[in-house]
């Protein structure tokens, strides 16, 4: 089981230059597809090693991505993942061994790849992405996501969009702009995409590309189940609430508690028998309740490879990358044969994340909120007649509607702005006159 014993001819950087010979052909010479701005040179090779790159997720995709980056010549890699290794990961998350079960994914993955590829440094972060601040994300040249959570994707996307310094960008300094490369798989399907925050369509713009989980009507579950999954969903959504089997824990379902899953399994089984349906098993129950989408190792490998190629091209400008020109989204389907389609997903003007950059607004701190709101109506660029205002931290300052919120927030109208908003902080403003746009203002006191 010792990893270093498996592969013949351990390839350290000095020991076997052949490891890099094919890559170097790309960086030391030009070819028919070379990017027009690319100049082949030893510096291009060295620059690759200087790139700081962050990998989010050390799961099925993350293991592949870390391996690929290290074997492409990236040397300064960070990886962030809050999860620990479960025995069910071992079939495809190949950086982990049985003895690693229970340990941090980020730490084990980092150590494994560092050991295998000499000269690469991988810094693990065993925490949530939300635990890190902008300063952390600013140190990277690019970020690759291998996540299965939409919530986490949306968070990092919004964070990177907010980090972009528009003024610097206009002066041609793009250091606050961190290209985001996102990979995702679901069974035999997957996608990879490149996002240049504020410049190209973002994850939020592309939210409709994630098909919501196919759901069966509740009344079908309740009255005429046809499949074993229907019986499990019935037990999960309806019987659990009806029978409240675990009053000791307030009837809160714990997906990882075998007692809870067993209860659901037995309920589902009984119901399946009643309707002459076969196929309900314990592991199917677990899968339906946890919404486990089967992960296919080879799909992960294909998508990770695409993501890492994009990272390589972005880092070296050796070839045009996704997001660099016309296209920014590659979808892959292996359901029937192989099908890939690469296209340009358009940025949405009304995207709540990238559609509106925060406008700087200089105001008098002695103003009341009322005076501030009236001033918004007079602004040529906004003309907000009925604005609702919340702080970027999520405090409702004034909501025009619905009635109940208007009543609750009305007392704020009398208050001074300086008592409501800190200097430099942002306000999110919505107005029914602009049905699809929300405005963001960064408040600066005179």
């Amino acid at each position: 089981m010792s990893p270093s014993a498996v592969v013949p001819g351990e390839l350290g950087s000095g020991a076997a230059p052949s490891r890099w010979s094919f890559r170097d052909k790309i960086l030391l010479s030009t070819g028919p597809f070379t990017h027009e701005m690319f100049e082949p040179s030893e510096e291009a090779v060295a620059a690759l090693g200087e790139m700081q790159i962050l990998v989010i997720g050390a799961g099925g995709l993350g293991c592949e991505i870390l391996k690929n980056l290290a074997l492409s010549g990236f040397k300064k890699i960070h990886v962030i993942d809050m999860d620990t290794i479960d025995v069910s990961n071992l079939n495809r998350q190949f950086l982990f061994r049985h003895s690693d079960v229970g340990k941090s994914k980020a730490e084990v993955a980092a150590k494994f790849v560092e050991k295998r590829v000499k000269g690469v440094s991988i810094t693990p972060h065993n925490c949530r992405i939300q635990d890190k601040d902008e300063d952390f994300y600013l140190q990277f040249n690019s970020i690759i996501c291998g996540l299965d959570s939409i919530e986490a994707r949306r968070w990092i996307n919004a964070t990177l969009v907010n980090m972009v310094d528009e003024e610097q960008l206009q002066e041609g300094i793009s250091d606050s702009l961190k290209p985001l490369i996102d990979g995702g798989t679901e069974g035999f399907k997957g996608q990879s995409r490149v996002i240049l925050p504020t410049m190209t369509s973002c994850i939020e713009c592309q939210l409709d590309m994630h098909a919501p989980r196919a759901a069966v009507p509740l009344c079908t579950l309740a009255t005429i189940p046809r499949q074993p999954e229907h019986c499990i969903e019935w037990a999960h959504i309806i019987a659990w609430d009806q029978e409240k089997p675990f009053p000791d824990v307030d009837n809160k379902l714990d997906n990882d508690d075998p007692e809870h899953i067993t209860w659901l399994y037995q309920k589902a089984l009984a119901r399946a028998q009643e309707f002459n349906i076969s196929g309900v098993t314990y592991s199917m129950t677990q899968g339906v309740v946890k919404n486990i989408i089967p992960a296919i190792a080879s799909t992960n490998a294909i998508i990770a490879a695409s993501c890492c190629n994009e990272a390589f091209k972005l880092a070296t400008t050796s070839n045009p990358s996704l997001g660099d020109g016309e296209n920014n989204y590659m979808m892959y389907s292996g359901n029937e044969g192989i099908y890939t389609y690469t296209f340009k997903h358009e940025q949405k003007e009304d995207c709540p994340v990238c559609g509106q950059k925060a406008k700087d607004l200089t105001v008098d701190p002695e103003w009341t909120l009322q005076e501030f709101i009236e001033s918004l109506a007079g602004r040529a660029d906004a003309q907000l007649k009925k604005p609702s205002v919340r702080t970027a931290e999520g405090k409702s300052l004034y909501m025009q509607s619905p009635e109940s919120l208007e009543l609750k927030t009305r007392p704020n109208l009398e208050k001074k702005l300086r008592d409501l908003v800190e200097n430099g902080h942002e306000l999110a403003v919505t107005d029914p006159a602009f049905a699809t746009v929300s405005f963001r203002f960064a408040i600066h006191y005179r």
């Binding site: 600013l138 009507p217 972005l314 931290e393 029914p432």
Partner: protein
């Protein structure tokens, strides 16, 4: 096309220093919250519906009260609890009736069978459309999507009997020995 990574490490460091100098740790609302703010401030509800936010800063959890002014459920006051997740609008809001009511499309636990809350939810739909959909269930209860099988059967087989059952259940009475919450306005 811009050369995204200019490889100018000096400028990179300058940018980092700038960011550190500003020194403001901004805690941002999530994209879901931003979208909900939009949805909530654009609500344009008829006088038969009202929302109530226990915490005005938390737009993700609130109740909706429906007081139908026509149809079989006229005179009733119905409460629904909305729970919106960080996956909104990818995921539909979770909606439950907090009273035990007699309705073919709402079970005794308050689960609601409304297509746009489950199988037909799309991110382009908003909270307004969900609320209008809920109100519609009181105007046109529908026997073909039953969650309360008995009520659906009553509605299908004997519309007048169903109406009587609705009245007595709304008054806090029992239907076929099943008791219901009193939901009458007065």
């Amino acid at each position: 096309m811009l050369k995204i990574w200019s490889m100018k490490q000096k400028q990179q460091q300058a940018a980092n220093a700038d960011a550190a100098a500003t020194g403001i740790k901004k805690k941002k609302v999530t994209a879901a919250q931003l979208r909900v703010q939009k949805d909530v401030s654009e609500l344009s509800l008829p006088s038969t519906m009202k929302t109530e936010f226990p915490d005005e800063d938390d737009l993700l959890n609130f109740t909706l009260t429906i007081e139908p002014d026509e149809g079989m459920y006229k005179g009733g006051r119905f409460h629904f609890k909305f729970e919106i997740s960080q996956d909104f609008p990818h995921q539909a809001p979770k909606v439950k009736c907090t009273q035990k009511i007699y309705h073919p499309n709402i079970d005794l636990e308050g689960n609601v069978c409304l297509n746009i809350l489950r199988e037909d939810w799309k991110p382009v739909l908003n909270l307004q459309s969900v609320m209008i959909g809920l109100q519609f269930l009181f105007l046109e209860p529908n026997a073909s999507d039953p969650l309360n099988k008995d009520a659906a059967e009553d509605l299908r087989s004997n519309r007048e009997g169903f109406k009587r059952n609705v009245r007595s259940a709304m008054g806090g009475g029992a239907v076929k020995s099943q008791s219901f919450d009193r939901v009458l306005k007065s």
